[in-house]
Amino acid sequence: MSDVRVAGVGLTPFGNAPERTSRDLFGEASIAAFEDSGVPRDDVDALLYGNFMGELSEHQGHHGPLMAEAAGVRAPATRYESACASSGTAVRDAVMRLRNGEDDVILVGGAERMTNLGTAGATEALAIAADDLWEVRAGMTFPGAYALMAQAYFDEYGGEHEDLAHIAVKNHENALNNEKAQYQSAIEVSDVLEAPQVSSPLGLYDSCPISDGAAAVVLTSEEYAEEHGLEAPVSISGTGQGGDRMALHDREYLARSPAAREAGEEAYADAGVESADVDFAEVHDCFTIAEVLAIESLDLFPIGEGISAARDGRTTADGETPINLSGGLKAKGHPVGATGASQIAEVTKLLSGNHPNSEFVEDATTGVAHNAGGTVASATVHVLEVSE
């Protein structure tokens, strides 16, 4: 089976741009990705595009052909919707299509326009990633769902809000040099602890911001990359996806994410690596507790130990396993449909030495991207490696 090469990546700045349509955002990201790749638009066989709330935020469905147009690509285009894992699932399908020889070049990415909804509107839009009848109508919000998991985690494994605060501090620190990040400002533990409560025990600084932005990635088969002499040293060598029951209360565990574990195990086996081989990861930290669940699910830390990893300096930039060197969703921003593809872009840049934080992972050969949907009823994991 041939590897899939990352030929080029492109990101818009993530942040507050309520006036920008998702077609404008994706157009910009795709230009950057094509320029980075050197691949002509004519060679693209398909566009796989992630978006979650387009109907609610800009009264737009049927994003596929619209985004192909925005990217200047004449190819069949399909939208993927898996809540916050939308473009992660798009990447996974792109990898499988390139591997089985169906296509040679795929443009994959995603975008989300969110800030024009305002806080209340975005809270409502995000909530529909949960079970409408049994969760949303009981007043559960998206931060509320993660708060339920955080409280369950504290009760089961210990830990406190201050442990979570160290995760937020770390991710803000990592974003300082990332010019595409929404926040390039340092915060302190006390800022997190003193911030207004959103859904206890989670406060404003435990939560990722509401963001606008897009990400685009040009993926090619290994054959295409070699035939065309592309400089594409990073490959996606493993892909995995896991699923779980929709409502949190129907899950076997309230403080673990089995869907992400399943996705991670599948991706590691697919790539032929073990968790011990992972040098760093970009994980889905939509809330500080989500990073804890993610690094435990990926078997980077034992269950119950993820909570203290940031505080102990094990996941900081200079730690043994840096997590979210981009700043993560927390500081880089979380334009929902773009997030999974943006993680692939960040890991690629880190592995190829083109990232402002590459110095922290100079000898790294293996990075992982973890993208979660809802309260992790969906999860995708991708292993990226520097090709020999």
Binding site: E124, W134, G139, P143, R245, A247
Partner: protein, 131 residues
């Protein structure tokens, strides 16, 4: 939401709320003793299609909870409020904790179902009140 939408009931779910209001709450049981909540035609655990309505235990125990300060617009007037997941044995359920201050909610608290209404919309809300 149009008038028609708001008048349309959700089959299975609204009947369940009706039953809960009359203290006849139930869960769906498959032949392999898996519990689940309606509307549902298939057991999500084993795929069995013979589902039977069995009486829900009278009380449940709060397993985790949160106090929400930033709600969706449908609960704007209700915030802050406590949301919890309570274990009723065969099923766990998410509900809003009523009849007690949000600050007094804790893990292990014994609760029973109480269908209440949103102060914001007047819509029915599945709630829990301390036993």
């Amino acid at each position: 939401m149009s008038e028609t939408d708001s008048e349309t009931r959700d089959a299975g779910f609204d009947e369940w709320l009706d039953a809960a209001e009359e203290d006849r709450a139930y869960y769906l049981a498959c032949p392999n003793d898996h519990g689940s909540l309606p509307p549902r035609r298939v057991c999500p655990d084993c795929g069995a299609t013979e589902l039977e309505e069995l009486e829900l235990p009278e009380s449940g125990e709060i397993q985790t909870f949160t106090v929400t300060h930033v709600p969706t617009p449908a609960f704007e007037e209700d915030a802050p409020y406590a949301t919890a997941i309570a274990n009723f044995g065969p099923v766990r359920i998410t509900g809003q904790v009523v009849g007690i201050g949000p600050a007094d909610v804790e893990t292990g608290l014994e609760v029973e179902l109480e269908v209440t209404v949103s102060e914001t919309t007047g819509e029915r809300v599945l709630g829990f009140s301390p036993v």
